[in-house]
Symmetry: C2
Subunit: 285 residues, 2 copies
């Protein structure tokens, strides 16, 4: 087998084929990493694949635009789908297997089970998207049990999602280790996101203000300044930059996302800009 063959991406669309491939690797005692995505892949996703290759011998990417994590009024229908380009990126990244199921494969008729992480799913993003994390928790539980990886990687860009997934994996005794990978950013600080494609040229110039504002707030809080005042300043700066609306900018404890009470934490933010709703977060302390 040539090098080209060994790095050539295999695509499967049903759970049995996925399990058979992974079972073959298991028999060879190879470690398996899983990288769940919704496709429209960018350098942020590529960083997940690269980290997967560092932590395991084989990397399985999944592409599934999961309908249950979108509310009826959200962008499920228009979410960017471009599998051909995604396959090229996965091949370049050295990913071994792509699992890209249809909706009916994941949710056959009669499907009725829901995984919910109480508490974590109702705050911050969950307060603005009440059913979102139930959809995420359920589909990620399925993907983890379908692929049964040794490790699964998720971007810190969706930091609350990462916390939800760590919690459910621990609570449900799922053996895969959940690993967060640092956010990849544009030169001006904007966090990479498939939804950045929704931004107009003008909005794109405004967008980095969110990251700048929360980075400054995090620095200020880390120095011991009053958190509330720092967060208020951040909100004002984001609005002044041209965002019409800020959903939240809050400081939270790093693991539980409980209200910040000193020590290490995370500033998390969401703000609307045109058709896009940008989210971002930075660590401090």
């Amino acid at each position: 087998m040539s090098v080209a063959d060994t790095t050539s991406l295999v695509i499967v669309r049903d759970v049995d084929s996925l399990r058979q491939r992974v079972a073959l690797w298991r028999r060879e005692r190879l470690r398996v990493a899983l990288v769940p995505t919704m496709g429209a892949l960018h350098r942020g996703h590529k960083a997940l694949m690269t980290r997967g290759l560092e932590l395991a011998d084989r990397v399985v990417a999944t592409i599934f635009v999961n309908p249950t994590q979108f509310a009826p009024a959200e962008d499920f229908g228009s979410y960017p789908r471009k599998e051909a380009a995604d396959v090229r990126l996965l091949n370049e990244a050295g990913v071994h297997l792509l699992f890209a199921p249809e909706v009916a494969t994941m949710y056959p008729p009669g499907f009725s089970t829901q995984v919910r992480v109480n508490g974590l799913s109702s705050i911050l993003e969950g307060a603005h998207r009440p059913t979102h994390f139930d959809g995420v928790a359920t589909v990620v539980t399925k993907l983890l049990l379908q692929a049964a990886p040794d490790v699964a990687l998720f971007g810190e860009k969706d930091y609350q999602q990462l916390c939800v997934i760590k919690r459910l994996a621990s609570d449900l005794d799922i053996e895969a280790k959940i690993v967060g990978v640092p956010t990849v950013r544009e030169a001006d600080g904007l966090a990479l996101s498939s939804r950045n494609a929704y931004l107009t040229e003008e909005e794109r110039k405004i967008a980095p203000a969110l990251h700048q504002a929360i980075t400054d707030a995090a620095t200020t809080i880390a120095k011991g300044a009053n958190a509330e005042a720092a967060l208020k300043t951040a909100k004002e700066r984001v609005l002044a930059a041209g965002f019409p609306e800020v959903d939240y900018i809050e400081a939270r404890q790093a693991e539980t996302l409980a209200p910040f009470e000193g020590g290490a934490g995370r500033v998390l933010a969401a703000a609307r800009l045109g058709r896009a709703r940008l989210i971002d977060n930075v660590a401090f302390g």
Copy 2:
């Protein structure tokens, strides 16, 4: 190793020990059956163990009185616990391993994940015990993922529970095959249940009327008679026998528990009698 040694029950109380034992069996390519219970074992449980030994090479029983499937006013505190007698029964049955965790092992601080089977969890038993099946679904998901058996056995006595568990295992891509085992009954038809211990001598004489009434109703419906009339008669007979209250006696489709519309089905019933609440069901068609 003598025969006595190989059939002698091993007891573990933490997940790592459980997994290590099961992993050893896996390496020998032995098939593993799981029989989750709440203890207070009787011949009904023994039938589950026996069936497990027919379907697998090794049987793991679990004893865990799961607090989250009891409502605050229910009998969690007084539910019968008698591990020494249970261990004797498991040894006699030829069970290989008992997993008997503490509550804090199953639900450590911060635990916040819930598995819910929508629809099935809200009807019949679920209408009378609104949080019951969420507790069952969550703990059974955990036990299935902790032990990773080839097959897991549950009594048909708790028929709706069996439907809920089959549904969640299928929906969450849990590989274990879920197998129902026919209800074991006393000579007079009363379904064996740990909660029968709550019955006074007088109530014990009344109790078989529930099974008699639903068996007759099922026979009548199977012959093509009007189901509503047959179920009404059954209710009247149960009340006349001395049950102070009938929660429900209904005919449902066998798999989905959707309203019965002809063909094969199940009559399911629940009725209060003194401190006990008896449930039972019979197939027809």
